[in-house]
């Protein structure tokens, strides 16, 4: 555990020091790159709640990432075009305030996760994998064929949404927001993992029958975990859309689901900080290998294959031993 704590601290320090260095050296591109890593990390932390702590192999987290993205896109689109969001049954306007957008993204993705989870958790194992994938795909096609918000072309917004007291168009200030949210999410998940609920969830993953025998309902535990998981990934989606000032159906695509899963695996399943390491590693690989060859996905695939076949537990498993790796 001590090695793990050291690695956690090193990661957080790196994510603090590197962008500050890039800011001092006037390298805004590197700040944006690190922002991507931090946002991916949040998405991965979300998935890890279901995958690592609950043992729920969801291949459909793009659904929540995309809903978060579209929550941002649609709200900002209406606010920037001065059109009402809806006139009936409530008169609502769009907004360009980040905190409001985050809240909407979290609530919508939590509701979606509740609905998808309630249906998918009736099954388990390989059915669950395929069904979550299928629901994400359904939203993907829905986003493509719904013309009001750009359809296949997606939706661009002109300026990044606002945060009181900050200039969000400045890369380092937007980074500060994302970093602060990362810390908040990490703290929340760390607390949740050690709470009564987190312990019970771990027990349900390892032995649902025993959990049932002591009077708890695994289904309910899984559903809460899946909803939390979706909500966190939805927040990451809203941030990602704000980073790019663009949302498109590709946020819903099955590749997105796969990549979010890759963040979790590269870092280490079931560790609070695992996805942070995984996302940093992914961005590093993308940056280094992408510079070597336009076909860098071949190398990514080979590395992923190597990790799955020979180094289960990811980076954390290699460095800090396998004591809490998934079973």
């Amino acid at each position: 555990m001590r090695k793990e704590t050291a690695l956690n601290t090193a990661l957080l320090a790196l994510l603090l020091a590197f962008p500050l260095w890039a800011w001092a050296a006037d390298e805004p591109f590197l700040i944006t790159l690190t922002t991507r890593a931090v946002i991916f990390a949040i998405a991965g932390i979300g998935l890890n709640v279901a995958l690592g702590f609950g043992g729920l192999v969801s291949l459909g987290h793009a659904a929540f990432f995309g809903i978060g993205g579209y929550a941002m896109g649609v709200l900002a689109f209406h606010a920037q075009n001065y059109t009402p969001l809806m006139t009936w049954p409530l008169a609502l306007d769009g907004t360009t305030s980040m905190p409001v957008i985050w809240l909407v993204a979290i609530i919508l993705s939590a509701l979606l996760a509740l609905a998808i989870g309630a249906l998918s958790l009736r099954t388990s194992g390989v059915y669950f994998i395929m069904i979550t994938l299928a629901f994400a795909q359904m939203l993907f096609y829905f986003a493509i064929s719904w013309p009001a918000y750009g359809g296949e072309d997606g939706l661009s917004i002109y300026i990044r949404n606002g945060f009181p007291g900050l200039n969000t168009m400045d890369p380092i200030q937007f980074y500060a927001i994302c970093y602060a949210l990362l810390l908040l999410v990490l703290f929340f998940v760390w607390r949740a993992a050690r709470s009564r609920f987190g312990l019970m969830l771990g027990a349900a993953r390892q032995n649902p029958e025993r959990v049932r025998a002591i009077g708890q309902t695994p289904y309910r535990l899984y559903l809460v975990a899946f909803t939390l998981s979706g909500a966190i990934t939805g927040l990451a989606g809203a941030l990602f859309a704000d980073l790019n000032r663009f949302v498109s159906p590709s946020m819903f695509s099955w590749q997105t689901s796969g990549e979010i899963m890759v963040f979790v695996i590269l870092g280490g399943v079931g560790r609070v900080f695992g996805p942070v390491a995984g996302a940093v590693l992914f961005i590093l690989l993308e940056h280094i290998l992408g510079g070597l060859s336009p076909y860098w996905h071949i190398y990514l695939g080979a590395i992923l294959l190597g990790v799955v076949l020979f180094a289960r537990g990811g980076l954390y498993g290699l460095i800090a031993g396998r004591e809490v790796a998934h079973d």
């Binding site: 995958l51 192999v57 291949l59 249906l119 009736r122 099954t123 194992g125 390989v126 059915y127 994998i129 395929m130 069904i131 994938l133 299928a134 629901f135 795909q137 359904m138 096609y141 829905f142 493509i144 064929s145 719904w146 013309p147 099955w254 796969g258 899963m261 890759v262 695996i265 399943v269 076909y295 860098w296 996905h297 071949i298 990514l300 695939g301 080979a302 992923l304 294959l305 990790v307 799955v308 076949l309 289960r312 998934h326």
Partner: protein, 305 residues
């Protein structure tokens, strides 16, 4: 709407469903016998289509192209089974998903590297071009009709193989109790390689047949793969009969939904919003079908509890 249009669309749906069956039967066999979830099945479909397009360009013969699709896809299947997949049978589903996701990345980028990003075209042969006259004065594409008939023949062959041949007995025995048939002297790893190659060959064949209707491009396999997942979830994983029923249900729902839903909304809406709402709902229809089946039968229509 006219009856002719309805029958035509129903035939299109049937053709789509038959094609999905070729994909889904391999997936469901591999899962039933080896307990493996294989995301790279879509890559084998793509490999079949590319092999067919390359062979057709080289030889000009459609039949040779079809043969090439089956041979190459089955060969790729044997290769990945021996190198990678074999190590995954004893692993949990998460590892299987990740490793086969990695295989998708490798196959897709590898194909892009060899063939480039531009779609290839595979022409249907002259002797299958044109239309055929069916009863009620329907003119239907000969090629699509040929796909339906070929698919039905293959489905019949598969049922016969599983029910009546020695290899079929072993496959069924493998589904029930792996250790036992190994103990009885069946070469289990050879059986696994065979089942995987069979699924791969069927997927490659489907890729070649569809490649002649649509374009042959990188990434063509995954949307079909996901639909094939929906099919086997509806049908019940491991059941060939379920795969056939599920495939035809999904094919008909998708194709008829695309035609009927916009018309239905057109009855009480203006044309443009009826088209857009109808199209959006149609794209969701098969997933709604899946959710509906799961509500009542969480293990699929033909799944064993």
């Amino acid at each position: 709407m006219s009856l002719i249009l309805f029958i035509e669309q129903a035939l299109n749906g049937l053709q789509f469903g038959i094609m999905l069956f070729l994909m889904a039967s391999g997936l469901t066999l591999v899962f039933g016998v080896m307990g493996l979830i294989n995301l790279a099945h879509g890559s084998l479909y793509m490999i079949g289509a590319f092999a067919a397009a390359a062979a057709a360009a080289a030889t000009g013969s459609f039949l040779l192209a079809l043969a090439a699709s089956v041979i190459f896809a089955a060969f790729a299947g044997v290769l990945i089974e021996i190198i990678v997949i074999r190590r995954l049978y004893a692993r949990d589903h998460l590892d299987q998903v990740l490793a086969t996701f990695a295989l998708i990345l490798i196959f897709s980028e590898g194909t892009r590297w060899v063939f480039g990003s531009f779609p290839l075209f595979l022409d249907r042969p002259d002797w299958l071009a044109g239309t055929v006259s069916l009863p009620f004065g329907i003119e239907y594409s000969l090629y699509r009709l040929a796909i339906i008939l070929t698919g039905l023949v293959i489905a019949a062959g598969l049922f016969w193989m599983i029910a009546r041949t020695r290899i079929g007995i072993r496959i069924r025995a493998g589904e029930n109790d792996r250790e036992m048939i190994g103990a009885l002297g069946v070469n289990i790893s050879l059986l696994y390689t065979f089942v995987f190659a069979l699924g791969a060959g069927l997927a490659g064949f489907a890729g070649a047949l569809i490649g002649a209707i649509q374009s042959v491009q990188v990434g063509m396999g995954e949307p079909v793969l996901i639909l094939a997942f929906v099919v086997i979830v509806i049908g019940g994983i491991g059941s060939i009969k379920g795969a056939l029923v599920g495939a035809i249900l999904v094919g008909l729902t998708d194709t008829l939904g695309r035609t009927l839903l916009p018309m239905f909304f057109g009855l009480f809406m203006d044309a443009s919003s009826a088209t857009s709402i109808g199209a959006s709902l149609a794209s969701m229809s098969i997933y709604i079908l899946m959710a509906g089946v799961l509500l009542f039968r969480p293990k699929g229509l033909f799944g064993v509890a």
